[in-house]
Subunit: 388 residues, 2 copies
């Protein structure tokens, strides 16, 4: 275990009906709010009307930024920053999934910053302050509701970049599992794979002597695996939805499950290059890439992949070699993703080989990526090629 | 899973040598510090000198309250409050284990309060504000370094009572595993049993559909079980000490592992009555009581005890009935406590039957205790009698 700092000040308010507390929680921080959301889903399920009504009843002024994209765009973030400045907004409320929350974080950081908010995503500046923000989560997936990370796409430049800061942790996040009843089947699948992928990035590590962190990772993986299919069979399964929602938050709540661990994040880096160009859902890209990344790197530390196969998938050793066990765990991952309905090839999204070089080059623009195995441009290209 | 709120603002600074950051962290909150500690251990291992030197080099004024008891006493807390008021202290630094941290929390809450600080422990008043406090943890045990709880003993009245508030979460806690190298064998044992007991109180619950919370509990239990004996064989085992330390914090960090779970805490209530009269170490009392509580209550929800036996102790079902499996898990607990050197009977501390009625009566003074099984006075007496 390495040295670490951990500090996660986000207040979680979890449970059925807790969305009704939005005005009370918001009023602690501001009276002039920018409501950030995506498309029609929160209008269809009533959450939009309820939130607006509650805020207005509490005499909170509400401005709106709708239409946040699944891969939220810099231009949309800039629009939000303009509204905040023009209207003197003092609090941002994100109602949505990870994309909406990430956009809200970028807006929050951009408002008090003199330069271009994109500076934070290309290493030109660090976030030094931000407007306070809160969230109502509508999708179990990214964990953005309880961390200080944000990922934004510069659509014209076909770049997708992340940034992070202690200043953009949400002040509160309301997690009401019933809100996710209306999440469509494919996004339930992609969100769940996103959760599992976050755990993979932290679990497949060369850091030794971290038994508690490893078990926490395995706990989340097992919980997600058990709960996805019940949520797909019955979208109103309150137990499955609650367990997925809390697993998503725990998987990336400021790195609690991987404190003192050297984490990887290469696959996320590669996926960002794919979805920067092709605009596919993040979880869908991860579903395609992760099993191939696993196959490409597992020999770097086979005991961790053996442990994964045995503890997470319950695969018995019997007369298997370590190699066979590791590969069985990877195959179980792929089979599970397929069984719940995820795509397994880039071709399923009409993606061919023509941009492989560009994606591989972009992925390593700041040098090799990943820590479990350091990946250079050719490695990234190989993994992309395995994924075609 | 029930609805819940979770908010834990404590900053953890974990790792070898991190105790050297004390002045930098303290200076964020105050310049006039009350240093609270126990006896000679931090003088013997150099931590006292180092801390004083670092604070003074940073021009931080230091007052001292030494001699915090293992079951910290109200009279000592009151002494601390007097010093803070007299000297205009603006920050409290606890250097020690749970007792020292609990005393510091009570002092922090007492300073800005007009009445008697004991009011907070008997339900006469709620903590509304407190001086900020930080900690350097020296013992893996109570989790007090990352929660808002405190337990204080009113020695004259033979009462031991808890209180809690969001206002007394430490602002920071420095966890340096090397500081625990000098913890004596018996306190390594008692601290580890305390950690396991905190998990038991949250794990043995009637709340259903909490698979992630249950697995987090099991993860901590397994990690402690694996690491106690290595730490006993080699007190300087950096891996074992680090794993025990982080397990202790995770076991009671504001209830993260039991969010949405109806927890028990009856055994802690009973133990408090024992140590209020006999002043035995908290973990020693828990080691005696917990297996007997388990035997007394396991039929209330045998599936949880079966799961405990199988997942935590790896006991195979073979041809065992649920009852036999549950009891095998309880026996494994007792056997482990005995193997690592804990006492198994109250008689080992010279405690006989003469105060059983008084302890049982006090334990239920506000009504039945516990949630896994509601315990009345006769139940508590029965468990105490099983423990003689």
């Amino acid at each position: 275990m390495n040295s670490f700092q951990f500090h996660n000040p986000t207040r979680i308010v979890f449970g059925e009906g807790e969305t009704r507390r939005v005005a009370e929680l918001t009023a602690t921080y501001g009276r002039n709010v920018l409501l950030v959301y995506g498309g029609n889903s929160i209008k269809a399920n009533g959450l939009y009307d309820q939130t607006i009504d509650l805020l207005k009843q509490a005499d909170i002024e509400v401005h709106e930024l709708a239409g946040i994209e699944p891969n939220p765009r810099l231009s949309t973030v800039q629009k939000g920053i303009d509204i905040c400045r023009r209207e003197g907004v003092d609090f941002i409320l994100a109602v949505g999934g990870g994309s909406v929350i990430d956009a809200a974080k970028a807006i929050a950081a951009g408002v008090p910053y003199d330069g271009d908010v994109w500076d934070f995503f290309v290493g030109k500046a660090r976030i030094q302050k931000a407007l306070p923000l809160g969230t109502i989560l509508t999708l179990a997936a990214t964990g953005s509701e309880m961390n200080g990370n944000t990922v934004i796409s510069h659509w014209d430049a076909k770049l997708k970049r992340g940034s992070g800061s202690p200043h953009i942790y949400p002040k509160f996040s309301i997690l009401d599992p019933t809100v996710t009843y209306s999440v469509p089947r494919n996004h339930t699948v992609y969100g769940s794979i996103d959760i599992m992928s976050h755990v993979f990035e932290q679990y497949f590590s060369l850091t030794k002597n971290t038994p508690l962190q490893e078990r926490l990772c395995e706990s989340i993986l097992q919980t997600v695996i058990e709960n996805v299919e019940p949520a797909l069979s019955n979208p109103n399964d309150s137990v499955a939805r609650a367990n997925l929602m809390w697993s998503g938050t725990m998987a990336l709540n400021g790195g609690l499950i991987s404190v003192g661990v050297h984490t990887d994040w290469a696959t996320h880096g590669i996926e960002h290059e794919v979805s920067a160009i092709y605009d596919i859902p993040h979880g869908a890209g991860l579903a395609v890439l992760f099993p191939n990344w696993m196959k490409y790197v597992y020999k770097e530390r086979i005991d961790r992949f053996v442990q994964y196969a045995q503890r997470v998938w319950g695969i018995q050793r019997d007369d298997r070699t370590d190699d066979e066990l590791a590969l069985a765990g990877i195959e179980a991952t792929r089979a599970f993703f397929t069984r719940i309905g995820a795509e397994s090839r880039l071709a399923d999204f009409g993606i061919g080989a023509d941009q492989l070089d560009r994606m591989a080059e972009e992925a390593v623009r700041y040098g090799e990526i990943g820590n479990f195995k350091r990946l250079g441009q050719q490695d990234v290209r190989n993994i992309l090629e395995m994924s075609l």
